[in-house]
Every structure is written in structure tokens, then in C-alpha cells.
């Protein structure tokens, strides 16, 4: 899922300072699962925005809403439910949601309520770790299912580097060296020889280095 975390409240209060009617808009997708921008977090942010305004002696009306998803046009259309009740939106969806509202509502001011951080999974209660970089050219079949693009600090294709010490990364000493993990896993799977294959220089255009990416499925388009 996409992981996000709420922006500092002072930053949100500052960006919404000139508005009198705000809609705090959550998303029931990934940000609900990672407790950053679901219904509960909308309630908290709305309360904090009201308190921030009160402290500054400003009047503000804050509406609360949560869409099924903010990354689909048909759900964004349901913004009409709050027509006339806001002059700016604070979206608690990931950056995709903010962009979708900006794309579809040309005259509506929209602000991000969260920082979108990475694609990850829940490692423990309240802990999420990055697992995938969305690079567009998956190499997991070569690396035992463990991603060196997302989980190696240097995104090395031929690792480990000389900074791998006792199974830990030299950049973050608390993080396991993913290339050590790839090696150990391939050994357990009796495929250690895969480590000897030298990966060619990689074409990073699929990773966004060739500009914004787009996927079109002919079988789904009408």
C-alpha cells in the first residue's frame, strides 16, 4: 500500500490560513490502512484546524468527509455532496488524491494534509517499511523476491557493496543489508549461483526518469 503520514499541524494551519470554509477529505484506501488519512484522522485534523484557528482568533468552518477512494473520477465526483460548503480542500489522501482533485476541479483550491512517503507494508503494529519502489521493471525473480531497488540504500543491482558489515547497511546501521538477505535467501533456496550473474546497466526510464508514467490497457478501454 501507499504509506503516508500527517503533515505537521502548524504547516496545515499556515496553508489554510486565508480560508474560512475548509473541507478535510479522507480516503478509505491505503491511507486508512496506514492510519494517516482515514475517517478517524479526518476527525482529528478537523479538530486541530479548528483549534489552530481559534488560537489565532480566526473564524473557520470545517467540514469532514471521506471518499471511498480519491484516485478514481467517479468517487471524486461525490465532492458535489459538499457543494458550496467549502472554499478549499485539505486532502488526506496520498499525493495521487490531491492531484486527482486538482485535475478534476480546476477552480478548487486543494492542499495536501499528509506527506506521501513510500510503497510499503505493515512490519508491526504502528510500523511500516518500504518494500517496493514502483520502478516499472521488476527484478524480484532474480533476487529471491527481495527488492534491491527499494531496500538497498544505493539501489545497487550487483550487491552487496563494500559497506555491508555484519549483515547491516553502512548508510543505516539498524537496517539489514538487503543484498546479504538476498544472498542468504538464495542459498536457502539452493540458487546461490544466481548471485554470480552480473546484472547489466539498467535502463531507469521506467522508474520515472523518462517523465510521468502512464499505463493503458487496450482490453479495458472502450
Amino acid at each position: 500500500m501507499i504509506i503516508a503520514e500527517r503533515k505537521p499541524i502548524a504547516e496545515i494551519v499556515e496553508m489554510t490560513r486565508n480560508h474560512e470554509k475548509i473541507l478535510v477529505l479522507g480516503c478509505r484506501g491505503c491511507v486508512t490502512v496506514c492510519s494517516a488519512g482515514g475517517e478517524r484522522e479526518v476527525e482529528l485534523l478537523a479538530s486541530l484546524i479548528r483549534l489552530g484557528a481559534k488560537k489565532d482568533g480566526r473564524k473557520i468552518e470545517v467540514q469532514e468527509g471521506t471518499l471511498v477512494r480519491q484516485c478514481d473520477k467517479e468517487y471524486v465526483d461525490s465532492l458535489d455532496n459538499w457543494k458550496g460548503e467549502y472554499d478549499a480542500i485539505v486532502s488526506m489522501a496520498c499525493g495521487v488524491g490531491v492531484n486527482f482533485i486538482a485535475n478534476l476541479r480546476p477552480t478548487t483550491m486543494v492542499y495536501p494534509g499528509v506527506n506521501t512517503t513510500f510503497f510499503g507494508g505493515s512490519a508491526d503494529q504502528g510500523v511500516w517499511t518500504e518494500q517496493c519502489a514502483g520502478c516499472g521493471d521488476c527484478v524480484l525473480h532474480l533476487t529471491g523476491g527481495l527488492c534491491p531497488v527499494a531496500r538497498c540504500a544505493k539501489s545497487l543491482m550487483n550487491g552487496p557493496c563494500g559497506g555491508s558489515q555484519n549483515g547491516k547497511c553502512e548508510i543505516h546501521s539498524e537496517i539489514d543489508c538487503i543484498w546479504q538477505m538476498i544472498h542468504d535467501r538464495l542459498e536457502r533456496l539452493d540458487r546461490k549461483e544466481q548471485m554470480l550473474e552480473v546484472a547489466p546497466i539498467r535502463d531507469w526510464r521506467t522508474a520515472g526518469h523518462g517523465g510521468p508514467r502512464k499505463t493503458t490497457r487496450d482490453d479495458l478501454t472502450i
Binding site: 499541524i9 502548524a10 478517524r40 482529528l44 486541530l48 483549534l51 481559534k54 488560537k55 482568533g57
Partner: protein
Amino acid sequence: MSDFKPDIRAFCCHYTSQQTCAEGSEGLKQDGFPESVSLFRVPCTGKIQVSTLLQAFEDGVDAVYVVGCPVDSCHNVKGSQRAAKRVLAVKKALSELDVEDERIEMFHLERGFHPEFLAVAQEMDKKIKKLGPSPLKGEPA
């Protein structure tokens, strides 16, 4: 500032407030329980949400505190630990809003011991009288 009467909301669990509640309002007054503190009893402090704590500030109180079981002996195992985390989240939010984070506190007390329960109420009353009205009331200082 001298005539400032704080409005403090206290959330306490069934167990930590048992003896205090048994005193009745007249008994509490005689014991010196501050009039500034309104008690809200909940089955377990783990039930209190961050939104409940923020709502108290939205309602215009000057401070909030939570009294739950000792960290390692909550009747519901981790209820008071959860409450402490939520209090911490509100402390952080208050700091971000540039408001004194002492306006919210968590206390872990043994079950039913009235003197300690009374002491934290007096401590909060004294502290908030010193701090003055909450800036979140939107009133001119």
C-alpha cells in the same frame, strides 16, 4: 489573572476513581478536591480516543488530564498504556500549535487510592492557575 478559575476536565478509569467517587460531591469538597476539576469516569482509559481529548479543548477547557491504572497492572492489560500514548499525541499536537503541552497530562495511579487521586487534581489545579487560560479558547490574553 488572580481571579482566573480554571476549567479542567479529568478522565479517569472506573478503578482508579472508585474511592473518590464514593466520597460524593460534598465529601470531595471537604477533602479539598478542586472545584475546577470535572470528573468523567470511563470503564477503562484505553477507551478514550484522541478526538475525545481534543474535543475537551474545543469545548473550551483550560486543561485535560487522564488517570489510569499503573502501566504494568491495568485491569484491561494495556488500557492505560494506550491512554498514555494518546495523551502524548495530544501533547505533540499542542506543541505544534505553540500551546503549553503541560495542559494535558497522564497519571498512572494505584486503584482506588483517594489521597493520590486528590493530589494529582490539586497539582493540575495549581499548575493551570499558574499557566492561565488556554490560548485555544480564542480569548484575548
